[in-house]
Amino acid sequence: MKRAVLKLDALSKSFGALRVAEAIGLEILAGETHAIIGPNGAGKTSLINQISGALAPDKGRIVFEGRDVTWMSMAARAHLGFARSFQITQVLRHFSALENVALAVQARSGSSFRFWQAAAGEAALNRAAMRSLDSVELAARADTPAGSLSHGEKRRLEIAIALAQAPKLLLLDEPMAGAGIEETQRLVATLKSLKGRYTIVLVEHDMQAVFALADRISVLVAGRIIASGEPQAVRANAAVRAAYLGEAT
């Protein structure tokens, strides 16, 4: 049995009367790619936000490598090894692709309270950033301002930024959202190359991509996990078919 990197313990969250998480219990194992699927409004993004620290839960605990991180800020969690991409792309639009990634490297290597040396000239930062860009095939676009990249390129840039954080846990919130067929294939290929090397939590709507990538799948419906397990088992699960795939049983 692999060790669990992340444990969610009875996590609950509601916005007014809307319950987006109801006693969610989940274990993410080291090295696995764990997909979270569910219909729109099931609370997938809220769950990712709670795990990454963008949103505080009402109840429950989040334990990362034996540490309770429930009340830690997003920045503090990033230093522990959390890295995430966003459903709506979040990049520094006026910075070059390289600088976007170099900042992520800078965040984990040495103090950023340095006021004199030009940061853009730090070879160590740029080298690490370039490696990360290369792993998502963006090296050729290193000098392009992130705002001028295509949508698919921005999605890959977000992954490059996350990789540059040397993450212990990669949270990907719909990395394929809005990407065309070709871009999706490319992203799936990129994610496949990461599979096994990182512990990944993947929220995704594209079922083909999910079944191609996931080791385990959890199905979230109206804030509850109704099924969790190997892809084949989930696919065969009657409750999932009824609630999510919309098939009569």
Binding site: M74, H79, Q106, A120, P145
Partner: protein, 415 residues
């Protein structure tokens, strides 16, 4: 703003770089200022030098504000407080006979830094218009505290017994020396701020302006960086205040008035945020305009106001924006900057706003019918709530009158 990039090459290998156009412009500005005492020799020399001193001092203040606005995205509407605090700290020290450089200057800087730390700790937690309001509130607090400082002149201000002494000698008393000291400090501020903006710290600050969520997700806590920037900017502006007080040998609460804070913002925006030479040029342009117009008429603000409105309408990038636009137009083949070309650029930069203004004025103002229609429409839209309320009032009037009449009749009847 594309200014966030600020001409820093992204993948710069650590090879020595040729100075950028922005740096050349700043350098030529400094050179021109350095020549001012020679140029102004003769006619009213000491007066024009006085104006020059003010311009240089306000350029320092504008640079410090640019650090907040341009790099940090923090529009402070209370930056003049630091001018006053720097001048008051040094002036109070001088009035107690402690007006030596090694006491007065640290006092001015420390007082500004402490005020920045205390107010920034609260202000930097807010963003946008709340940040504007809270910095304004703190500056007004400083203003009213200064007016109530009865032992130090209160409302009337504090006259310094003397300029700050250097090693017991009145070196700063000499006008030429004082001018060059101010200029040297401006150059030092420029170098410091430009290094700061390109540094690791500056990059984080610019990143926070661009996308705070992304920066938090990669592990930066916005608060610490913004507060540090606020303290640095406040301290630098305190330095400008120290010089301003020295120049006038006087300080009054007016230094901290909110109008002064507004003027500082105007200098930065008029010059163009996103570059460092912009705010310096802005300070220069603002003070020269003020000087020239106040000579023309007593009511110079009537001219300055609309001029600034026009700038905001037609040249939103300010002077720096106009220069950048004209450079982009002729940027096709990349040419090294040489002195003749630089002069050409400068001349062109002077002409370009005029050209684009002419076009813009023709386009936007000389189509009166269109403008009138739009104006009328807007006016009607703006008046709509008032007309509606008036209409309702008129409708309700008869019934109100009737009710009033009835009650008064009833009251009379009961009596």
């Amino acid at each position: 703003m594309p200014g966030a990039m600020r001409g820093i090459p992204a993948a710069a290998p650590s090879a020595p770089r040729a100075p950028s156009f922005d740096q050349c412009l700043a350098a030529s500005l400094f050179a021109l200022l350095a020549l001012l005492p020679l140029l102004s020799h003769g006619i009213a020399s000491s007066y024009s030098l006085l104006v020059g001193e003010r311009a240089v001092i306000f350029a320092i203040a504008a640079l410090s504000l640019e650090l907040l606005i341009g790099a940090g995205g923090l529009v402070s509407f209370g930056h003049a407080a630091f001018l006053g605090i720097g001048a008051y700290a040094a002036g109070i020290a001088a009035s107690h006979g402690l007006g030596t450089l090694c006491l007065a200057l640290p006092a001015a800087l420390a007082a500004s830094a402490v005020f920045a730390l205390a107010t920034g700790a609260i202000a930097v937690r807010t963003r946008g218009v709340y940040f504007i309001m809270i910095t304004l509130a703190f500056a007004q607090m400083a203003f009213f505290i200064a007016t109530s400082l009865a032992p130090y002149g209160g409302d009337d201000g504090l006259t310094w017994p003397t300029r700050t002494m250097v090693l017991g000698r009145p070196i700063l008393k000499d006008q030429l020396t004082f001018f060059y000291v101010c200029l040297a400090l401006l150059v030092a501020t420029y170098l410091g701020v430009s290094r700061l903006i390109a540094s690791r710290f500056g990059r984080v600050l610019r990143g926070l302006k661009d996308n705070e969520t992304r920066m938090q997700a990669i592990g930066f806590t916005p608060y610490l960086y913004r507060l540090t920037a606020y303290v640095i900017a406040g301290t630098l502006c305190g330095l400008a205040g120290f010089l301003l007080g020295n120049q006038a040998e006087f300080v009054s609460p007016a230094y901290m008035h909110w109008q002064r804070s507004g003027e500082l913002i105007i200098m930065v925006l008029l010059g163009g945020t996103g570059t460092l030479y912009g705010p310096m040029l802005g300070a220069l342009a603002f003070l020269l305009l003020e000087e020239a117009l106040s000579r023309l008429t007593e009511h110079w603000k009537v001219i300055l106001g609309p001029a600034l409105v026009l700038t905001a309408l037609f040249a939103s990038g300010g002077i720096a924006g106009a220069i950048a636009a004209c450079r982009r137009r002729r940027a096709a083949p990349r040419v090294p900057v040489t002195l003749p070309r630089l002069v050409h650029h400068l001349l062109d930069a002077g002409l370009e706003p005029a050209r684009s203004w002419r076009r813009a004025i023709r386009r936007r103002l000389l189509r009166p019918a269109h403008l009138f229609k739009r104006g009328a429409h807007r006016a009607r839209a703006a008046c709509e709530p008032a007309t509606l309320a008036l209409g309702r009032g008129l409708q309700a009037l008869p019934s109100l009158a009737e009710r009033g009449l009835r009650t008064s009749v009833e009251r009379w009847w009961r009596r």
